[in-house]
Symmetry: none
Subunit: 227 residues, 2 copies
């Protein structure tokens, strides 16, 4: 037996049932989500070894779920979709999906592709813990330690720290940070708010917040983390 856990995300119960059977005959444990919101929540709380994601979801769209997951979830995400347009496939793969299978799919092929994804991921088992200074950031488990001690972050703070961690060394412009943290559709000018959150991040992660060494200001441009 095998305790590999796979999350199935699809709004149609019939397809979920089919997938559950296909996966359980291979010895995997399964959990299910019917909406994008559920998918995000369950991935965060169960941390499955892999996610099977339908693109056509009610509520948050599948593509959006993919993008949001990839902000911190490093394990395989396989897209299962009726959409067969080249555009959809290219966008999904470039957004971080590990494979794309159009429905209706063949069960044994699906099983083989899942074996492949899990095998490949196990090989390269890239350490999802990012170390910067005396900080260690575990994006998958949302755990940040400052020389061992666990720090607590609000969701906005963590979104920002995660963005910096994934782009350490790079200079991120104000606009880019604002877009990534608050989304594209924010019309209000968030630059003052950004400074407030930078300050609260520094208060938590910097050895001496008044003399930043990790999260540096690039005046008139943006901020840079690490290096």
């Amino acid at each position: 037996m095998n305790d590999t856990l796979i999350l199935i995300v699809d709004d149609e119960p019939a397809i979920r049932r089919l997938l559950v059977i296909a996966l359980q005959t291979e010895g995997y444990k399964t959990i299910e989500a019917a909406t994008g919101e559920e998918a995000l929540a369950m991935t965060a709380s169960y941390n499955p070894a892999m996610v099977l994601l339908d693109l056509g979801l009610p509520g948050i769209d599948g593509k959006e779920v993919l993008n949001r997951l990839r902000e911190w979830y490093a394990r395989p995400i396989m897209i299962l979709s009726v959409r067969n347009s080249e555009e959809d496939i290219v966008v999904a793969l470039d957004s971080g999906a590990n494979d794309y299978l159009t429905k209706p799919f063949r069960v044994r092929e699906l099983q083989a592709r899942i074996r492949l994804s899990l095998r490949k991921h196990g090989e390269t088992d890239s350490d999802p813990v990012i170390d910067v200074g005396n900080l260690s950031i575990d994006l998958a488990n949302r755990i940040v330690r400052k020389s061992g001690e666990i720090l607590r972050f609000t969701s906005t703070e963590f979104a920002m720290l995660s963005l910096f961690a994934r782009n350490r060394g790079r200079v991120l412009t104000h606009q880019y940070i604002i877009r990534e943290v608050w989304g594209d559709l924010v019309y209000a000018d968030q630059s003052q708010n950004l400074r407030v959150f930078i300050a609260s991040l520094r208060k938590k992660i910097e050895p001496d917040p008044s003399e930043p060494t990790l999260l540096l200001t690039e005046s008139r441009i943006g901020y840079r983390f690490g290096l």
Copy 2:
């Protein structure tokens, strides 16, 4: 530029030609093999970053090529085949193929899947870095190193350095530099200001600012960077 090398294995010249074009437009270098024997030999001697393998080959069969390659070749192998039976796909994936695309395939999807394979394999194509003397300039990330150590620039300084880096070796006139850095709509004469910024750039990048070797004066004309 990109020196990633990809081996194309197919017995039909027309398909090879199509693949060469699809790959070269993405910036990859290509080599070609028409038989299984050739494929094995070329993989061994050129050690390409990835192999695109047709299953229906004269001589040694594609499956056999896959098995033999996997005895030592760890990089991605993508199968391109007209065979669409589930059995073929499952066997190929379980034999160590990284992906399986049935012909006729869609070019942009193929390109996306190749990007995926190369990315997953950890060969992230890093951003272009300009090296001049002991300086390395990463324009995209605004990172400049002087023999390893990271230098700090204000936005005007960086705009100017970036302009020089993108035009290294060329003589840039005072007027041209001023227009590029401050824009066309500046009425005040910035030539004095230009000298001030040249000085502060030299103070940061030159080994000995009093004897410039990187950022040279072309009297009455302008300045020249590098070589």
